[in-house]
């Protein structure tokens, strides 16, 4: 586990929709040691307010030393990031946490909902580049409407894996939820589902996989102060009782290790 704190230059800034932004950063040390599902902590301002760093999944890394984050402008910190410009420096710290445990010998079904699509590109890339038959691998992406999904589809297509899309309003892909697509696919028992998205999506995914006895890994969120196991602020309820910590035990968990409300 090697972590790095880098002043990373913004190489590219993409406004993918009204609120969704993708930023490419030059952060060679982080890029070199990152794995799919891991995240970084970014300082959004230079002053003391907002005080805390904000966590973002690694959307992608490149061998040229770049990392990408894909995020939505939802509050103060992301507002500041959404108004940065190419050439500016961001203080980035990572890679952090435990990523997806890719099961090389089992079929993969990647499910990304809304901003939960972010870590899926990294995972798709990793899976696609593993030398094995990809005939049973599948990517499912969803969002509220076209703008949440379409801008990212080209990047996913590059990997040549099967791809299905869904939107709540039917403006792109089928009209419905990603979990509807998951259910409609005939996933075999040896498939591993890898999910990231809003809480209710993850709950539905968990219910479905459990009912079918399918293994499922999900990337979850929590409020974080340190991102590195020092503050103990990011706890979530564990299946066993007691707590797990999103930043070091996760953010990717086997669904059976977590306590689910429903």
């Amino acid at each position: 586990m090697s972590q790095h704190q880098e002043k990373a230059r913004i190489i590219r800034f993409e406004q993918l929709s009204e609120l969704n932004v993708r930023i490419t950063l030059d952060a060679p040390l982080i890029a070199a040691s990152a794995d799919a599902g891991q995240f970084v902590m970014i300082r959004t301002g230079s002053g003391q307010d907002p005080l805390l760093r904000r966590p973002f999944s690694l959307h992608q890394t490149s061998s040229s030393g770049y990392i990408q984050i894909y995020f939505k402008n939802v509050g103060r910190g992301t507002h500041i990031l959404a108004h940065t410009k190419v050439g500016e420096l961001l203080d980035v710290f990572g890679p952090l946490g435990r990523g997806f445990r890719f099961a090389r010998d089992r079929a993969a079904c990647l499910v990304g909902g809304g901003l939960g699509i972010a870590p899926m590109l990294f995972l798709a890339k990793k899976i696609a580049s593993s030398s094995r038959d990809h005939g049973r691998d599948l990517i499912i992406l969803g969002g509220r409407s076209r703008e949440d999904v379409e801008p990212l589809v080209e990047d996913f297509k590059e990997f040549g894996l099967a791809l299905r899309c869904a939107t709540d309003d039917g403006s792109f892909g089928i009209k419905g939820l990603v979990t509807d697509l998951v259910k409609s696919e005939h996933l075999t028992r040896d498939t591993v589902v890898y999910g990231c998205g809003p809480e209710n999506m993850l709950e539905a995914l968990n219910r479905f996989c459990r009912s079918r006895g399918i293994a499922c890994q999900v990337s979850v969120e929590s409020v974080m102060a340190c991102g590195m196991g020092a503050c103990l602020g990011c706890n979530i309820d564990a299946a066993q009782g007691d707590y797990l910590h999103v930043c070091i035990d996760g953010p990717v968990f086997n669904t059976e290790d977590l306590a689910w409300n429903s």
């Binding site: 586990m1 300082r43 102060a225 590195m228 103990l232 602020g233 706890n235 707590y243």
Partner: protein, 312 residues
Amino acid sequence: MEFVNERDSYPDLRVDIGGLSLRNPVMTASGTFGYAREFENLVNLHRLGGVIVKGISLRPRAGNPPQRIVETPCGMLNAIGLQNVGVERFIAEKMKYLKGIDVPVIVNILGDTVDEYRMLTERLRGVEGIAALEVNISCPNVKRGGVAFGTVPSMAAAVTEAVKKAADVPVIVKLSPNVNDIGEMARAVESAGADSISLINTLIGMAIDVERRKPVLANVIGGLSGPAIKPVALRMVYQAAGSVNIPVIGIGGIETTGDALEFLLAGATAIQVGTANFINPRVSEELVDGIGEYVKSHKLNSVRELIGALEF
């Protein structure tokens, strides 16, 4: 290592906090630096004055349910609930690493009763690698209806005495800021035998989610830390340092070299960096450099010339 030693010898940053010599006045605050290992990739631990580990209790504690933290203007609230592995696992698992690092390790301890503090201290007696104990008295006294030890002079004194009697290393008592007269508390623990005092622990605060109409923290209230509290912390350090003869360790919102110097000038012999570790994991080492630069550029013989050197 030779390079490091050379650099550490001038400027002379050494300070003494009640029987414990530090190579410089910069330490990391309890609960904000894990068990030090979390930071080993990011900080040259041996360059720090000392490391205070997460508070340890007699038995393991699960802590509070989520949500435990929330950001506030220039600060944060935490209600971790004193989660820790308990003293046995601490000794078995954490001390192995800690005794190997070249920096004084100070163990922060907490309890529900005076007796628990005493038993904890006895258990830590003779454990290799512990340079000092820091006694967190901002904890509720279960025998006194949950009133914090740190808010009643006689209770603070009782804890101090019990720990001091059982300890084989210097004892730092960490004061709660949620009191009216910090000088009175400082004097109470000094009389009870504390080798030094550290302050401040967090101020008690609260945040409400107005859409859900619920407290943001599951625990309802939490501890406020970060730059927001610095003015209060500095004032209390100034008042405490004026009230006792033992060394004072300043804590609260320290993020920059300027902040650290303010505390030294107010009378602190050393300082601890807390919340700032989350924002800039390298900050403690940067403060060592920054204080060194100040000592050099102001042509001081040692950092000790700054302690309490406020002019009026």
